[in-house]
């Protein structure tokens, strides 16, 4: 059984590897200090995992908006997303 049909490329492999590592990181963090549910600026109770998901989902939308609305390099969306993830995790 070959994996040819999946058409792997280095960038996408790195992308999934980073996501996987982030999930593992979240898991370890959870084991070290369990999360407490709280209500932030998002208006509904969230745990750390939920905020992380919101951060990633927002990142996806930020990148799409960047691609669709501007002609600038996509790399510039990355720091914006990083800030967004931090904001969502810290105050979400």
């Amino acid at each position: 059984m070959s994996l040819d049909w999946m058409a792997w490329t280095l960038p996408t492999a790195l992308f999934f590897l980073i996501i996987l590592l982030m999930i593992c990181g979240m898991l370890v963090w959870e084991l070290v200090s369990p999360t407490v549910e709280r209500k932030g600026f998002l208006g509904f109770p969230t745990t750390r995992g939920t905020r992380f998901f919101i951060g990633l989902l927002g990142t996806g939308y930020i990148h799409l908006a960047w691609l669709g609305l501007t002609d600038l390099s996509l790399w510039m969306a990355l720091p914006i997303s990083a800030v967004w993830i931090f904001v969502a995790m810290r105050w979400g």
């Binding site: 040819d4 049909w5 509904f44 998901f53 989902l57 799409l64 691609l67």
Partner: protein
């Protein structure tokens, strides 16, 4: 009731995780891979970065399909929810009528989706269909009714079909919600001399909040993913006037075999659905909490 804390529960969930991962994660990874390449054949692909995403995001046909999709889903909610509530209120509460109504209502839900399309073709055709012949017999329209002829007729037929097909689901949900109201509430209202409208406004509607939320969200999500019924009925036409997101996506992926753009389109579609189902899940969780309080 606190749940038992035990991570061994993972062993019970593992089989489900594996079977769904096989059907969901592997294909999704593949879609991501396709979306950044120009694929000519097996083992013959060129990395193109985000080109397909840019192309798809600026595709006006996609914007149109997305707009149509929201219009369609909005209309579906606007018609089906009130109609479903009315049907549920009119349904008998005891006796043989309950089973009869439930079975009648459930019947449209169990017909394969493309057969629904077939039923409505047969029903609305201007030459052999009861609906088509009846409407044209009235002779009110300047252009004879034919769902393949004009966009407005195609939309009317499509909406009629959708309302016919799914209002029963809303009605069944609301009926279940109504049945959960204790008889004592009605008796108290009767003693107070409350009107039927007041009973509905202050007793039935608040008590149906939970099931109504679920009905709204389910109908929105499912109408957002609609494929087989319009595919069978109109095939997306006339022109592209009833081409919704799923129909357009299948057209690109299977019809034109443009794997790259189709994959990029899939991911954008998936992100929209992911956001919607996240909202769905949060609302559901909080509705549950509201009832327990």
């Amino acid at each position: 009731m606190e749940k038992w804390e035990n991570n061994k529960a993972w062993f019970l969930v593992l089989p489900v995780f594996l079977i769904v991962a096989f059907s969901a994660i592997i294909p999704l990874m593949t879609v991501v891979n396709y979306s950044v390449q120009d694929i000519f054949g097996p083992g013959n692909a060129v990395f193109v970065g985000t080109e397909w995403f840019e192309e798809v995001l600026r595709d006006t046909r996609l914007h149109d399909a997305l707009g149509r999709q929201f219009l369609f889903s909005g209309l579906v909610l606007l018609i089906e929810i009130p109609l479903g509530i009315l049907v549920a209120l009119a349904m008998p509460k005891r006796g043989w009528g309950v089973s009869a109504s439930l079975i009648t209502l459930a019947l449209p839900l169990l017909i394969p989706w493309n057969v629904i399309g077939t039923i409505w073709i047969i029903f609305t055709r201007p030459d052999i269909g009861l609906f088509g012949v009846a409407v044209n017999g009235l002779d009110l329209l300047s252009v004879p009714f034919d769902h393949t002829a004009r966009p407005i007729y195609a939309w009317i037929t499509l909406m009629a079909m959708e309302v016919w097909h799914w209002t029963p689901l809303v009605a069944l949900l609301c009926y279940a919600g109504l049945r959960a109201i204790p008889e004592a509430y009605y008796q108290a209202a009767k003693i107070d001399g409350a009107s039927a409208l007041a009973v509905f406004r202050y007793i039935q509607l608040p008590k149906m909040r939970g099931v109504l939320t679920i009905a709204v969200l389910l109908r929105f999500m499912d109408s957002f993913l609609i494929y087989a019924e319009p595919f069978a009925l109109t095939g997306g036409g006339p022109g592209n006037t009833t081409t919704f997101l799923s129909i357009y996506l299948v057209k690109i992926a299977v019809g034109q075999f443009d794997l790259g753009p189709a994959a990029a389109f899939s991911l954008i579609y998936f992100l929209i659905v992911l956001l919607l189902s996240f909202i769905f899940y949060q609302v559901l969780l909080n509705v549950g909490k509201g009832e327990k309080r």
